[in-house]
Symmetry: D2
Subunit: 487 residues, 4 copies
């Protein structure tokens, strides 16, 4: 029930010979769909020639059998799913980004956000560059293309470009002869690779996508590492010295529970969060209930540690999708009811421990607490699998603005009161290293300690507000024709 | 992960005055979406004048804010969701069925199947009737219209028509001045009603839809009962003596866990099924895993009774929708991987008890067992929450044909071997009354004891096969334009 | 530039063996597209089995290669194009009408309007019939189906049904083994047939459609004649004694100039109209200009008879299609400019004779006169190829209501003044027999002498007004998804 | 019936205050639709802020009332219609091109082709530029943007950029405060301007678009002239010394007959072509017939000069649009029949003079000659309003490749034989100056004398062939969702 969005998932495959590479990317993107639902794309390299199809919509909608058939065979391919933070489902922002330059063709997919996007873009524009999108990924494409003019190889161009980037990037670049995967020196966003039984190499944002195509997991891409895949195999190079600080929010919310990131199972991390909460905030209760989907694993952990029965206390309507339009103001109170229903027989007359992954504005969890109480819960004790959100993220997580973050304005006691809970416990920041036992993680959204220097983004101008209105109109009037709107 | 489909969900609302009645029906149908995903429709009665909008697609796709706004206000409305067994998503089969006859206008929604459809239709055609669809519901509409010619009131016409029907029907009829709900004398399909705080009456296939619109549950409609709602209140009449035999498969698979049907919580029935399986087929194991979504509750029950830990051992891809196209033959083995992934850390090295609701062909469950074994499960003990399927259903459940039902050809021991399980236990038929403690239920698909006389349907002819091909084509080439195809 | 609409065009083909019959119907309907642009459909008979595809849109839009391929081969086929007078482009009203009755399957296409539709429908409803559309064609289908129950053959059923019809009907019926074409005893609407070199018989509303499929014209279907095509050839029967009164407006406006109807070339009839106008209303002028497209031929005739040069004085924008939305009120004056432009060099400083086919409200022709004057025409002498419209049509022509017909309220002199013309001449009614030299024609819209008895239609009720609103909305928001809307 | 395509039409409006500027551009583009039917776009400048909507489709399809309403008001706007020579209806190639650079925002529309596109592009890429399309217009946008970095004003940047261009360009640039129109020093493509009664200035490819918005024609933009429109009025500057050589093919085929270009009426030029043909190639005949639409005016001229009656001998199906799919091979012979039909009564038994604008491959005209002969024409004497095509065009006309041009391989006598004509006369090159009495025109496609130096384009590579296949697929499967396809 979270309102936080990440922006991307990436997937790539490199085979020794021409074959169906679109199929695996399709299944891989299906497995990564939770990382972005606005638009998606696949680029295929067929004997040195690159072609691409991208469109607004879910993977299964966009890549119909006819489209997949026409993309044809190849020896390499990359794909991307994207959550659109600006301009709605504008397909112009879709990836792969295709570059068709006299010095080389290239397809690029990117997950992450740059902390120095503003400076890089300004410098490129001073040299005459024209940008077609507002995305950081176009900056990366420009830098690689410019470095390519003076580099002996595409990997060297990628390496040089990478050195100018600051922030989060998990990249896959397809040149006519190579597939190159890079993870930034802080390893903010996940990236791993594996191999299919037939020898094809596969790179993906999360290991669940390797499972989906029947590939065995080899290892995570290291911080600052660049992997170069060509017909003969894979080489490991480095674009910069890494001191990894992976994003902890991947474990709390973003990633699929069946993924293993940097050696840590997401499912187990969430169970541990539940156990740690049970230790930190024990309570006498009759049942432990998780907010689906991300709160379920932690609820199992809490139940186990606290010796309180777990039960399915909330049922989620699995048909609520992108098409769900919020009800009119008069029925606003009602809206959580459409997405969730309390299971009366599981909670009536009981003291309930309710587990959720995080709290942003507090509005949704407040409605869930009401739902349980109306269904007869005697008490609702809220336990949250993360510390309070206090700071913005500059590495690709789209959290709300500070004025909307409830924890910036209220103490936990006040929040409990506001949302109607009988008690509230956040996972203490000091326990995060037990939840995700890595040497370092980025938890800047909780403690404000950013692993890189930051330059603030300019606020959106009048034009972009206009654009927003136009985009919304179009989504509304016509779900099928998704026109390209430009500033 | 079941391949069994029911055909419909119905919802109706009757208010004392003109207001937004489309909103409640929209939310009600959203809550009933699991009962049918092919097409849906809403008919509104505004001051005696009936109008309707219906279309192929999910509720959220079809009823955009613009469509809802234009349907406008009214004092009564009915809605329907449908799973299309014939002709795919052909919108001609969508409901409400609208009748615009000189003797009266009417909108009708229907859940269920008639056992005497063939005879009734033949008799009507002999009198010159022309049918536009192959659906039983059109027969019902015809009978009511014909009885209306000689009946003093619409409820009398409905009552006379109902007496000629044999089989399952949960009906809602909207006349210009009344809303009439009928449940057949065997009460095969569920139907209940409730009331909102503002006095509006609401009728729905399942109680979860009452929750979705904030209505309090009053009671289930009784076997053979007809409720007549008009401006002033509700009257209860009877269309026939009832000896209720509700469908037990509603509890096993169809209904939402948060619904309560004929006084029995679906969630609790499933937990009981798990406990009964633990008693009937105990096994030494390390973890209990349910096949999502319908096997989860039973897995919790089994875990509790057997004192074995429950865990999330399988993760379902929540984006697999109607758009998912099965992979080409070469990758067939792979397909369950796209929908489900084993959670390695939860099952590796463990003896797993795997719970599912039922087995049809055995293909899917066989792949799930493989998935778990590949993820390192040492043993997989399969437990099924229902007895083996042995007989067809004539009351609205679309089970496979007998030649495809694995239990018709193999013993449980053979099935265990075929699907790769280390043991297999079906819920014994003798325990069904403990799972669903009602005086009688229809369990004909397990024991062949049909509560009514049956007339077999003729097999599909050449034409309908053609039609099928054409329908499929159209789904394929154009998801947006859903043309009407006729025989 | 006429605002008058006819409702249909029909086409059928019967071959000796299975082959591509969809192709010819497709090309035939393309040639008849001017008779209806709202929706269209084709039904194929393949070895006794009938299937159909129909949809809102132009022939070229609806019948994509994929749809045509899937309709497949057959030995007979019929098609229809329709102008929607009620309910906009509602595909429910599209034809062929398919009947799937135990006593026989049938596809039916129909051009024309019944004068006794109201009585027939009421009688059928009294016997329990349910109508799904408001169209006369469904009444015809019902009557044939009912007669079929007691007739020895389909042609006998058609004959008996035809005897109950009063008014205009050019019908083609496809049974599993025969194609039957019928033209009403007054021969109001055109219908002709021909033969391809390979022996296949072709029936069409106009001879231009025979040309389009390379068939040689044999003859017009006679008044009251029924042609029965089966594998072995064609038989001629009669459904009633005919005293033909073909619609004269087919020659004035509806039909394509390259068609020949009842032995009269439409092009020549229009040239004659021009010549007759030159005799009846001579004037001193410098150039003769026709309003495209239907005024061009008459302008050539006038120019020739009056020895005044013909020139292209008005250029029509050929891209103005169904998508053209009238400008906002402020620009209303402007709208004819978008559709037509005056050719300054052809008219500046000249005395212009302007020829149009007819005048309905007078608004459009007034704007055209202004256009010419603004382009420098010194005088504009308006000549109209028909007498003034004074009476409604009950046989399939959708003229405006009497209160909107300018000729019902004003004398020709007044009209000339209103539209800004320097003089105005209507083709005298007494000359119509010279324009179309047939023994009798129906010219009831000019003189009110209806060849049959008439029963007035009831006015539209509140509900249909609602429907109208809803339809318009949908056209507006989504040109691609054309949902079925029902009362 | 020509197979030659031009690539663009442009339109712009500049008002003194904020008002509806989208309406006039919409009507202007409607009037210019014949110059490009693949995609279209409009950019609006509202108080310094630019926004744009562009999409594949006809003007009337793309700019629905909702889209127009949301584009909103402004004080300036530009629009574009485009015929897509590469990549089909790929919306990425649509214009206006929007540039959002730190040094300035800009919208640009362009008609024409550069003769030095290859060199300019290579030089820009060497400096690191990335191109998103294959269009010359993007090169122009890049050059202006680069010059803008070092220019004191946008008009100076446009002037400097223009000096680097060689070839045909009629440009309109919208900056936040100015609208700038430029016509290249050879004045290859037309461009004119006018003024509405309310003082708003209007620029358009052809004068017919001024008529469509009620603006008075002021004059053509001069060769090498740049007009700068701002709130206060218009200034005339020059980007280079002009020696105008306007394209003569605009008069022969491209332009609308109601346009006046560089002082010459297109309609009159065509009539003169007919008269010149009558003088050069007189013949005894009974009727003169023009191939619609572009041959009609010349046929009137021929008829007049030769004193032979003109008649409508060919009727064009006005519904054949972009949706028309050529028939399968077996019916190939048939295809002209769908688009054209001979008017038997006008040609049977007669000696026909047939006038067309030009001959490319000869296939179409051959079929038209057959059509007339099958309709009974005794003789067909073909007269062509232009000399034979012998050379490619580098200034924006998409003629076929030389190996397909029938005149490159055959003498007029041979061609007459091939197409079945009894005689053939091309307008002699030496008469072109009488048809279009301007000091100089570009007639390089006839005589190979190019007004500028030329650099040949590289041939299309394997990739672009692939792309073509993919585009076609998409047009086929989904007319509504027009996805962006990239290399």
């Amino acid at each position: 029930m979270n309102e936080i969005h990440e922006e991307c998932g990436v997937f790539g495959i490199a085979c020794g010979s021409t074959q169906d590479v679109v199929g695996p990317v399709y299944y891989g993107l299906y497995a990564l769909q939770h990382r972005g639902q606005e638009n998606c794309g696949i680029a295929v390299c067929d004997d040195g020639c690159l072609h691409c199809y991208k469109q607004a919509g879910l993977v299964g909608e966009v890549f119909s059998p006819a489209v997949r058939a026409q993309l044809g065979q190849g020896n390499m391919a990359v794909g991307h799913v994207r959550y659109g933070t600006t301009g709605g489902s504008d397909v112009r922002n879709a990836q792969p980004i295709m570059v068709n330059h006299k010095n080389g063709r290239m397809a690029l997919v990117h997950n992450g956000n740059l902390a120095n996007a503003g400076q890089l873009r300004a410098k490129l524009e001073e040299r005459g560059a024209i940008f077609h999108t507002a995305s950081d990924s176009e900056i990366v494409a420009y830098l690689i293309t410019q470095e390519r003019l003076k580099s002996p190889s595409i990997e060297e161009a990628v390496r040089r470009a990478a050195r100018r980037l600051r922030g989060a990037y998990s990249l896959i670049v397809l040149s006519p002869t190579k597939m190159i995967a890079v993870r930034d020196p802080h390893a903010f966003r996940p990236l791993c690779f594996g191999r299919r039984a037939d020898g094809a190499f596969v790179v993906a944002s999360e290991s669940c996508a390797l499972d989906a195509v029947g590939a065995s997991f080899i290892r995570d891409v290291k911080a600052g590492e660049m992997l170069v895949f060509d017909g003969s195999g894979v080489r490991s190079l480095f674009v910069g010295g890494g001191r990894p600080t992976p994003c902890i929010f991947e474990y709390i919310y973003f990633a699929r529970p069946d993924s293993v990131i940097d050696g840590i199972s997401v499912h187990e991390a969430r169970r541990r969060a539940g156990r740690l909460l049970a230790e930190a905030y024990p309570v006498k209760a009759d049942v432990v209930v998780g907010v689906p989907d991300s709160g379920i694993d932690a609820a199992l952990g809490y139940a186990e540690a606290a010796h309180i029965p777990f039960d399915t206390g909330l049922v989620k309507n699995k048909y609520i999708g992108r098409t769900f339009i919020e009800p009119a103001a008069a029925q606003r109170q009602n809206d959580v009811r459409i997405k969730l229903n309390a299971l009366r027989s599981a909670v009536a007359g009981k003291r309930v421990v309710l587990i959720d992954d995080s709290i942003v504005r507090g509005t949704t969890i407040g409605k869930i607490v009401s739902l349980l109480k109306e269904a007869g819960a005697r008490q609702v004790h809220l336990r949250i699998c993360s510390p309070p959100f206090l700071f913005p993220c500059y590495y690709g997580t789209d959290i709300d603005s500070r004025e909307n973050l409830i924890a910036c304005k209220h103490s936990p006691e006040e929040i409990a009161k506001i949302v109607g809970a009988d008690s509230l416990g956040y996972l203490p920041g000091g326990k995060l290293h037990k939840m995700v036992p890595l040497p370092r993680t980025c938890r800047a959204c909780f403690d404000g300690k950013y692993p890189t220097r930051i330059c603030e983004n300019a606020s959106k101008d009048k034009f972009e507000q206009k654009l927003g209105v136009l985009s919304r109109l179009q989504e509304d009037t016509s779900a099928t024709a998704r026109p390209s709107i430009q500033e």
